[in-house]
Point group: C2
Chain length 171, copies 2
């Protein structure tokens, strides 16, 4: 049978690499726009570096499985298409909606890493599962930060909107 | 100033209503396709009813704020556009990717309810915050179910793919 578990694992690792590339692109666009929320900006900049390392980790997993990483971009048009439409939203919308979207995207990544770890175990590749655990932990940390920050961020945004106007409040 | 906190709260309640309408549409498409995962099908069907109730709850919040709910669909083209592109993915992809997407979308909803509750408090509308709490609790429950289910679902999918083929495994 053509579709072995190992082949599926390779497909999903490639999808995850595209996901991290998209995360970097999306966060870079956000970082260019954020002006008045220094703690959010610092966290976004930090997570750009984290995401680059996660992409490298996925490449190492693919190399370990004997795959040519030059073909890494194939078959992910779907994922990219979605993330682009979503990152467009983020760029044109205010800080609260961007944080909501980032929180959702973090959980998209969390679920992908959970499925990848499960697939690596099923494929008899425990070393791959072990290599991906730090990425899962990093996404969980980022999601927890966003969740903890969101209620106060919402209030700050609304206060600024009343006092300083929409343009100052939204980014 | 035109953009008061209460007006923003109303805008966000309308966005959330569109979000729930989209959730219903997306889950209905999924339910039509799921064949071989009865527990996932049952949970999706249950969550369609939950989402309809959540949409009604948002209407009640808008009515309480004196808003004409006939205008409820305005200004949400962005949200709808995204969710449609994403639901297209779900319809064409396998059970694991659909579950990953649902998990992400649940967190999109969770963050929206957290921001709404915070905005309602900021707007001096504690009753609206109280009315939305059950929706937040329901989304958290659905997200926890999906998270708990994902590792075994991934393994079952991969086993079926090896033994019964892709067509049987994927939905």
């Amino acid at each position: 049978m053509a579709n072995t578990t190992k082949e599926t694992l390779i497909d999903w690792l490639r999808d995850a690499h595209a996901m991290e590339s998209q995360a970097v692109e999306m966060l870079e666009r956000q970082a260019e726009r954020i002006k008045n929320y220094p703690d959010v900006l610092a966290k976004v900049q930090e997570h750009i570096e984290v995401s680059n390392r996660q992409a490298d980790r996925l490449k190492q997993c693919l190399q370990r499985l004997g795959t040519d990483t030059s073909a890494i971009k194939t078959g992910v048009a779907m994922l990219i298409g979605n993330a682009q439409s979503l990152s467009g939203v983020v760029a044109s919308d205010e800080i609260v909606k961007a944080s909501i979207f980032d929180y959702s995207f973090e959980h998209f990544e969390i679920a992908n890493y959970r499925a990848l770890i499960s697939a690596a175990e099923q494929a008899g590749e425990p070393e791959i599962a072990r290599m991906l655990q730090p990425s899962l932990d990093e996404e969980l940390e980022m999601a927890a930060w966003l969740e903890q920050r969101l209620p106060q961020l919402t209030k700050t945004y609304l206060e600024r909107r009343e006092t300083a106007g929409t343009a100052e409040a939204k980014r």
